[in-house]
């Protein structure tokens, strides 16, 4: 079982997206020249604000949206020329809780399997439903399910044909915390079983927790793609906050070059530094503070979260 992080796996793209653009009939340019590779067996987190192009990108790969330009291959199969082979490999869990209200859970999952060209396999579908805690509700009409169950039913539909690649478009939107954790476990199990998972999300913590690699998309462009850890190292900043003994009106001129900022009405001095740099400069700073006679009661350091990084990235491009 290969449950380790993506960097321990051979780096082999299962999805290659090249120079992909999409302009809708309305003139809205949803994707601009997107290049992206998804590696086999990874969990890839695609982050972006509303309207960034996440759903369009997924739509193109899955065959729902016609690309305006560019190519996409899935395990070497071009999605336009060799669409049958490409689509057979993919399962999609859409963002909207769409459903055929009058179907039974079992009926709708069986339909999905057939639609993707697989022969009926009751034992397999039973396992899928059991894994998602839906087996007991197999005869229920879809409209009687709770929101969380409907979401899991959509996952079950997407998994019904044993796809090697699973797209989860905002899978935990509107799902309570407990259920969300259950879903994360289910996603990890899938990855451990060899599936490649592409996850879009609003919840940064979700990407932080789940993803091996992260891509950020904004205004239809991929802003950054990197290993999660590397991304956080590269773009993350650390801050040292000093609680001063006496409030300051302004940062002393002698320390101006340090890029310090005052906070909490002059009672705190904030020093931002690059966590990756050879020397953080903290020792020098503390020495200089002593020289100019600024005393502090306490100090703390904080590290920027993926959320901070994300907000910075998205803001920069605005």
């Amino acid at each position: 079982m290969g449950g380790g992080p993506a960097k321990l796996r051979p780096v082999q793209p299962i999805i290659s997206i090249s120079k992909l653009s999409k302009t809708y009939a309305t003139g809205q340019q949803a994707l601009k020249n997107v290049d992206l590779e998804i590696r086999r067996g990874e969990i890839f987190g695609l982050l972006g604000p509303n309207g960034a192009g996440k759903t369009t990108l997924i739509g193109v790969v899955c065959g729902i949206v016609t690309p305006s330009a560019g190519t996409v291959t899935v395990a070497g199969h071009d999605i336009l020329r060799d669409w049958r082979a490409a689509r057979t490999m993919i399962g999609l869990v859409p963002q909207e809780l769409t459903n055929n209200a009058f179907d039974s859970v079992w009926g709708t999952v069986r339909f999905s399997r057939g639609l993707f060209g697989k022969p009926p396999d009751a034992a397999r579908l039973r396992r899928v439903l059991e894994d998602l805690s839906l087996w007991e509700r197999r005869d229920s009409r879809v409209m009687t399910l709770s929101g969380g169950m409907k979401r899991r039913m959509l996952i079950a539909k997407a998994l019904a044909h044993d796809p090697q690649i699973l797209f989860l478009d905002e899978p935990t939107a509107g799902v309570d915390v407990e259920l969300r954790q259950g879903m994360w476990q289910a996603v990890r199990r899938l990855r451990d079983a060899g599936a490649t998972i592409i996850l879009t999300t609003h919840y940064i913590e979700e990407a932080e927790l789940m993803a091996d690699r992260i891509g950020v998309i904004n205004h239809g462009e991929i802003v950054v793609v990197d290993d999660k850890a590397a991304l956080m190292r590269r773009l993350g900043r650390k801050q040292l906050t000093l609680e001063l003994q006496a409030p300051l009106e302004a940062v002393p001129a002698a320390l101006a070059a340090r890029g310090l900022a005052l906070a909490a009405g002059g009672r705190e001095l904030v020093y931002t530094y690059d966590a990756q740099a050879e020397a953080s400069g903290i020792a020098d700073l503390l020495g200089e503070l002593e020289q100019v006679g600024i005393g502090f009661r306490d100090l703390r350091t904080t590290q920027s979260s993926l959320e901070d990084i994300f907000v910075d990235l998205v803001r920069e491009r605005r």
């Binding site: 809708y24 009939a25 739509g59 899955c62 065959g63 729902i64 949206v65 016609t66 669409w83 049958r84 082979a85 689509r87 057979t88 993919i90 999609l92 859409p94 909207e96 769409t98 459903n99 055929n100 209200a101 009058f102 009926g107 069986r110 339909f111 999905s112 399997r113 057939g114 639609l115 993707f116 060209g117 697989k118 022969p119 539909k157």
Partner: protein, 253 residues
């Protein structure tokens, strides 16, 4: 060919029929029975025979056509409209199914349903009026051809419709009037000559006439013309469906 997908769509649509048995089979049968009681038994006995056929029996082919057309259109249009309306159509678009397979699944199910319904109505009719079928094979042929053609038309309407009103519009305001004016209840010979000419622009005339010929060997237009017109309409529907999938019209962004 993704046979599993065709089967899945077909069975899914047939299951939908099963769930709505009252609406899809029982209601048309009851409606048709009412026609037979009123026009066949009650009023029909006072109406003269038409070319040697009792009036009650004369209207049977027309009534079967009336139900066949409206039910084919509404079944097939509903079948494709609902997944578009609820948003579940994403799954079909993302699945490894071709346009042809989608159409075979949806239109095949709607056609099956219509043919079964047509036969059920015929069986019902035989309880009220003496029925004679001169050319059973031709009768089935016309039944099948008409069911396929109008299920295709329904499919097109289901793709085109943007709401329930548009979905109802064609069956109620186009198909039904055309059927009533298409010789269901009369031979077009009884119309003044000018109106006979106008009537020939109504495609339903050819369907009813050909179908009636397979029963009683009486027809308003030659049976070959009926067949050709039906085939032409089928070809037009196929072309429209082909265009829909080629352009992704209302299905794909």
């Amino acid at each position: 060919m993704n046979l599993h997908a065709i089967r899945a769509i077909y069975l899914y649509e047939m299951a939908r029929t099963g769930r709505t048995l009252l609406q899809s089979i029982v209601a048309p049968v009851v409606t048709t029975s009412l026609y037979f009681i009123v026009f066949g038994a009650a009023i029909g006995t006072r109406i003269a025979e038409i070319e040697g056929v009792a009036y009650g029996a004369f209207i049977v082919p027309g009534l079967v056509m009336l139900m066949l057309l409206t039910q084919s259109v509404s079944n097939a249009s509903f079948g494709i409209f609902m997944p578009r309306f609820t948003g579940t159509f994403y799954e079909i678009l993302s699945a490894p199914v071709s346009a042809l397979e989608i159409v075979i699944g949806y239109v095949g199910a709607a056609t099956t349903k219509s043919v079964v319904l047509g036969l059920v109505i015929l069986a019902t009719a035989s309880l009220f009026v003496p029925l004679r079928i001169a050319h059973p094979a031709w009768m089935l042929g016309f039944l099948l051809l008409t069911a396929v053609t109008f299920s295709l038309l329904g499919f097109i309407i289901g793709v085109w419709a943007e709401g329930f009103e548009q979905l109802q519009f064609v069956p109620l305001l186009i198909i039904t009037p055309l059927t009533f004016l298409g010789g269901t209840f009369y031979s077009i010979d009884v119309l003044p000559p000018a109106w006979q000419t106008v009537t020939l622009f109504n495609p339903v005339v050819y369907l009813v006439s050909g179908f009636r010929w397979s029963f009683y060997e009486i027809a308003d237009v030659r049976v070959g013309v009926s067949l050709a017109m039906t085939a032409a309409f089928l070809a037009a529907c196929l072309a429209a469906v082909w265009w829909i999938f080629k352009t992704g019209y209302r299905l794909k962004a």
